[in-house]
Every structure is written in C-alpha cells, then in structure tokens.
C-alpha cells in the first residue's frame, strides 16, 4: 500500500547518520522540523470507532514532547489522528475545526464523518506540495454509524474498516492483516488498537511514550491512557 511516508521530515538537511548525530557542528534537533514520527491506528465497530496513538514528538533525535496528544478533536463526535509534521497537522486540524463549527451552526446538526473527512481531504490535496500530513479521520454520526477515513500524503481519501498510519505503521501491516476480523466488539477493538500501538512502539524509534486511546460512540467520547506497566507486553529477548 502507500506510505513509507510520515517519517521525520528533514527535507532541507544533508543526510545525517546515527554515528555523527550530536557531533561537531549543529545537532540535528536544532534544525529539524518537528515531526509527529508516530504510530496511529483506527478501527470501526458496530456503534462507533476506536482510535489510538503513541505520544512521541521528535525533532531529529531529540524527543520534544514525550506525552503528546495526537488524537485531536474536530467535533464532539469526530476526531483525527495526526502523523507527519506537527505544525502542518495542527494547522489543518484547526482549520477543519473552524469549518465544521460553522457548518454545525448553519445546519443545526452534527456534521457527518464523511463531511469532516472531505474537508480534511480538500486542504491536504490542494496544498499537497507544501504539506506533510498523514491523517486518519474517525468518528460517529447518526446516518452511517462509526466510520474511519484515511487521508495519506498526497490527499487521497478512502473509507476503511481499519487503518494505520505514521512511521511505526510499517511494522504493523502483518499484525493487522493477521489479526483483524470484521464484527469485533468495542472491548476487542480497544485491545486490538492498544496491542498494535504497543508493538509499533517496541520497534519504531520515532514512536514511544504512552498509548492514548479514544472510543467514540453515540454517547460521546471516552478517553484512556496506558502508561508504563499498562502497555501490552510481548516477547522480549530478556
């Protein structure tokens, strides 16, 4: 599929290898763009969606924020998972939030998830040359229930029952393909996402910190944080 994408965007620097990081000259974290290196994931179930993300924001090798919240609200029932450039995704999410507020006021009802995703897509596509943003839009609306839309780098959009994104997602394709089955319930989905993020954190240097989860249904949003010992454990060679 798509996406070696959303790896740290150090577009304007010469390649820096691991051995020379932090050596003579300027450390890369002084000059690298802030990236939500990231692992993000979202899944639909009957009645809503579950979304999850890690909490690491990096600037080169420096972790600028180890408790980032990458699950950003755009309406009471629609959230987005942000990966790529922190600045770009925050700016886009703010604009979408503005548009959807306006929409809600004019129409007197909550926007559809599809509407939110379309708004994201228009911004990402029309500004594709300037942006570095991979976004998952997920939420609940009364017409179509829980929905997940993925909007990777170029600005295409598509609805998927389960979606992953960010630099850590490369390590999850196997896990998702092997373990996803349609018809999972809310608790199964929470476990599935938590496991996925945890596995990616174990392998991807740009992902780490805590696991943030959110479950969106007709009753609103329930947020969870898994810290330290609470992270799902897998085989480790020690």
């Amino acid at each position: 599929m798509i996406n070696m994408a959303s790896i740290m965007t150090s577009k304007y620097l010469p390649a820096v290898s691991a051995e020379t990081t932090g050596c003579v000259g300027r450390p890369d974290w002084l000059t690298s763009e802030l990236s939500t290196g990231t692992t993000i994931a979202a899944i639909e179930f009957d009645g809503g969606v579950v979304i999850g993300a890690d909490s690491r924001t990096t600037s080169g090798a420096y972790i600028a924020n180890r408790v980032t919240d990458k699950l950003t609200k755009v309406t009471d029932y629609i959230y987005c998972c942000r990966s790529g450039s922190a600045a770009d995704t925050q700016a886009v999410a703010d604009i979408v939030n503005y548009h959807l507020n306006f929409y809600k006021m004019e129409r007197g009802e909550e926007p559809l998830v599809k509407t939110a995703a379309s708004t994201f897509r228009n911004l990402c596509y029309n500004n594709r040359d300037s942006l570095s943003a991979g976004i998952l839009v997920a939420g609940w609306d009364k017409r179509n229930g829980g929905q997940v839309y993925t909007i990777p780098l170029g600005g295409m959009w598509t609805r998927m029952p389960v979606a992953i994104g960010g630099s850590g997602s490369t390590y999850l394709y196997g896990y998702v393909d092997a373990n996803y089955k349609p018809g999972m319930g809310k608790d199964e989905c929470l476990k599935f996402i938590a496991n996925a993020i945890s596995l990616a954190i174990n392998r991807d240097g740009s992902s780490g910190g805590v696991i943030r989860l959110a479950c969106i249904t007709k009753d609103g949003v329930e947020r969870h944080v898994l810290t330290g010992d609470q992270l799902p454990k897998f085989y480790e060679d020690s």
């Binding site: 929409y103 559809l112 599809k114 509407t115 379309s118 228009n122």
Partner: protein, 255 residues
Amino acid sequence: MSSIGTGYDLSASQFSPDGRVFQVEYALKAVENSGTAIGIRGKDGIVFGVEKLVTSKLYETGANKRIFNIDRHIGMAVAGLLADARQIVETAREEAASYRSNYGTPIPLKHLTDRVSMFVHAYTLYSSVRPFGVSCLMGSYDPTDGPEMYVIDPSGVSFGYYGCAIGKAKQAAKTEIEKIKMKDMLCVDLVKEVAKIIYIVHDEVKDKNFELELSWVGDMTGGKHELVPKNVFTDAEKYAKESLEESDDSDDEDL
C-alpha cells in the same frame, strides 16, 4: 387589493410610509401573471406539475421547460419571468455543486433553500438592481430524511410545504390541493391528482393552449429527480381529461 405606491415604488431600496417595499410586491405580481405551478409532498416523494402556457402554435413542443434539475436529487419548478428563473437555477446549481465538492455529499434541500433564499433576498436590498420576478418550488427525496418541499418567493422568504401552488390560478389550485390527503398517498397516485388539478384550474377562455409538465422525485425513482416517464405521463393526462369530462357531464345534469 392593489394600491399605487406613488413615489415610494421606484426602487427596492425604499420603504413606503406604511412599511412596504413596493418593488417586491410588484415582483409578486409578475409571478401571478404566469402559468400555475403546483407541488405536492406525498409519503414517498414529491410531484411537481406545471401549466406551461403556449402562446403560439408555431412553438416547438417541449421548448422553454419550467421544471429544472438542480442536482441529481433536487428539482425546481418555477413561476414568473422565465429569464429571471434561469438565473436562479444557475445559482442553485453552482451552490449544490460547490457543496458536493467541499463536503463530499449531496446538498441537503433545507441548506440549499436557505442559500438560494439569501441570494434572492439580496436583490431586494439595492436600488441598482430589481428583485427577481420568480417564485420557485424546490423538492427532493432522501432515503434517511424522506421527501421535502420548499417555496421561495421574490422577497427571499421560504417555507416548507406539504402542498402548494404558485402562479395565476394558485387560489383555485390551493383549494383543490387541500382536498387531497397527501401525507398517506404514494407518488404514483399523486401524479394523477396533480395532472387533474392543473387541468381543472386552467382557464380555457383566457389561455387557449397549454402544455402540461410533470416531474417527480422519490423512492420510486431511487432519489433521482426527473420528468415523469412517458407511460406515467400519458396515464396521468388521460385521468385528468376524463375527470374534467365527468364534472362537465354532471354540470349538464343539474340543468
């Protein structure tokens, strides 16, 4: 009923001493001079019928239609100045298309009605333009929200209706419409009633020739607004003509 607004009726930017904007009222008069258009909201869709007055036998049949498609799921029937109406149709189409482009879904009718009303209203504010001499009936069907119908008049005001009429015979048409229990009727039956009403209210003496236009949108068309199919049209027209003859016959018996 009609009063002269001497001096206060020269531009839409002027009120009269009794608080009326005469230009808007004159625009309403323009609508009242045009052939009748009616719309009925049934259980599973909307039906529009238009009495299209034909002033010359030399005209091509089917020319100058008064029913338009705004988007796949929305139809508009107009009464008044046809050229003005075409402007409104164009604006409504642009509005619907841009909504689809921005939000990825077809525009809800209420939203489109609000936008078109605002557009029509804007032309009642300035002395450099005149108000539109058009009333529009807009109807749509959505599987979740059901059928909806709105009317916009030249003042920019809009209302939702189960049944309404605009144009020269609107009073007579409204009386006929009120007799119908439309909330429980399906469009396949309403289409015949609509044709009948148009034939009833048509004035044979003053306006010799007319063409009937019928359109519908609903569950039976899969949410697509279209002119009714040929066989439905023929049946509806036949029913309408037969009903007229029956009532003519009964008149004679009374004599």
